[in-house]
Symmetry: C2
Subunit: 336 residues, 2 copies
């Protein structure tokens, strides 16, 4: 029996396995500290396409194909797809995954989408609804700049608190077939609004949501911080990380010893000029696949908490003077 724990968490009776995963990234991510860990590094960020949006769609198509292939499956073995992206009306997902011909649930959780997709995918498998599902997401630096800030041709300046959208897609095959990592529980986030209005400081907008879901998770499961080898947020960057540590301390949890952030991990910010760190749905999706999941599979980490973080804004909401609320979804991944 799957168990509802506390107010916001679930523990799976038969925890679904992460059977395989795949990551594909752009040139800049390939030049970063994890460069050797990704499955594919493109040398042309257009990935052979005419537009940035089609390039991002291609990332999703490739990540899906690789992950399914690594699992020794065919697309028709996948019962459901859970995917989303940052672009208006999820077009990277729709056009990227159209040819897979798999029933699809389109998601939007801003940069928390990888957590949302893994949560729903795990619920689906653990509920007996599917033998195999794929949970995935993507982002692309150029399509995101065009969507949220300025087209690249404007060559606008960026404050140091700004993050750099990761070009990449990560895909995960979840199922009942035994592997070396499984999703044992989830904590689903609420929208948290601290009134931040600076869309160039998304770490500050997302940190309260991350703090909220991490503290709620530890409280729901009755666990100490030390019971996790790592607590990994999605894309808070250096500015957001400090705020997260402060906020969790205020709630009685000192996570500074085990906390890492995919946005900080993926780039060498000083050398690569990426400001406060990486961001975007793809950031946590490719970093989990390329690095943290491998550490779990190799039993270097026994249990991690993966917490992708999202900033809920659009250019319309921003221009209308609205705040930037945050959301984060936590996924427990354990060695098996």
């Amino acid at each position: 029996m799957n168990v509802q724990i506390g107010k916001q968490s679930l523990q799976f009776a038969e925890a679904p396995y992460i059977i395989s995963s795949a990551s594909i990234v752009g040139k800049k991510e390939g030049e970063g500290p994890l460069g050797n860990c990704f499955d594919v590094v493109g040398d042309d960020d257009k990935f052979g396409q005419n537009t940035w949006e089609e390039a991002e769609s291609t990332l999703q198509k490739e990540a899906f194909t690789m992950a399914v292939g690594k699992a020794g499956l065919k697309p028709e073995d996948i019962r459901y797809l859970f995917s989303g992206d940052l672009l208006g009306q999820n077009i990277a997902t729709s056009f990227g995954l159209m040819d897979c011909q798999v029933p699809i649930f389109g998601l939007y959780g801003a940069c928390s989408t990888c957590g949302e997709a893994l949560s729903l995918g795990a619920m689906c498998v653990a509920g007996g609804y599917a033998d195999y599902v794929v949970s995935m997401t993507s982002s692309h630096f150029a399509s995101a700049e065009k969507q949220f800030r300025f087209p690249l041709e404007y060559a606008n300046q960026r404050p140091l608190s700004a993050t750099w959208t990761v070009t990449g897609s990560g895909a995960y095959v979840l199922g009942k077939q035994r592997s070396k990592a499984r999703i044992t529980g989830i904590t689903t986030g609420k929208i948290v609004d601290y009134g931040i209005k600076d869309s160039m400081n998304m770490g500050a907008a997302m940190a309260p949501a991350a703090a909220d879901v991490i503290c709620r998770h530890l409280s729901d499961f009755g666990r100490a911080v030390e019971e996790y080898d790592k607590i990994i947020t999605g894309d808070l960057g250096t500015v957001g990380q400090e705020i997260l540590w402060d906020l969790t301390r205020q709630s009685g949890y000192d996570i500074s010893g085990v906390h890492e952030d995919c946005g900080i991990k993926i780039y060498d910010a000083k050398k690569q000029g990426t400001g406060a760190g990486g961001s975007g749905c793809g950031c946590s999706a490719v970093t989990l696949s390329a690095h943290y999941l491998k550490m779990v599979e190799e039993a270097k980490y026994k249990r991690i908490l993966f917490v992708p973080t999202g900033a809920l804004l659009s250019t319309v909401s921003f221009n209308e003077g609205m705040t930037v609320p945050g959301i984060a979804h936590a996924v427990v991944i354990e060695h098996s």
Copy 2:
């Protein structure tokens, strides 16, 4: 035990109940044939807000509050929210449901979102993950025109094949508590692309996806068309309806005797000048709540197939010359 049926369908062992629902619409919808059936008809489409986007958010907040209230519950009794809308980055949902403080899964399925939300909500309850969830969605004529076509101030002309985006939000409380209607099964759609490039003829873009999921549903469940009192699509309008009937006939199913379309139902197109009919996520969401669900609750219909339909496009994809693929999700609702 919940059962996977055929390639794309699920039958629930303990089918979740639709405990309550609520609908709120704008002035034009209130003047249509279902005007007396909605819970709330606004006389100002701004619903007391400064912007169209905030107005749409208000619709979601009100629909959520009403549905939860009708079920005799409080927001804190709701374990998960499944919601989405048409606006870029789902801002109507994020800002509308932020104050509810319920863990939320943001969805994007274009105008099929009500089907997606009900499907995931039902899976969640039937899987033992929640006692109560809320599945909902919204659209707003003015925010959608601004998002997809032209701001209202341009007073642009519209071809007859164009549909009219419904201003409204529909919300559903699903749970295990006995009521007069339940979701007994679902069939989840794939993305279907017939190469339509006319964003003013979305009925034609969505009809193939609706035909695909309806035929798949009947085949997966081994049922005849006559076993449904109604098969109800979301927003194909008059143009899309003809295409749907043709396509399903080609697959050996004549649905013309039982088919209705929420987009056709909600307006008196000739009197109200709404072209081919109503559209938008809100169209099927409010029409199900105001009309079809009541018919099921009163046992006038024993079993219906509710099939919200979505056109997957954005202004970016459209301007880049991409096609308009469609998607549709089918939900079986039975009297209980």
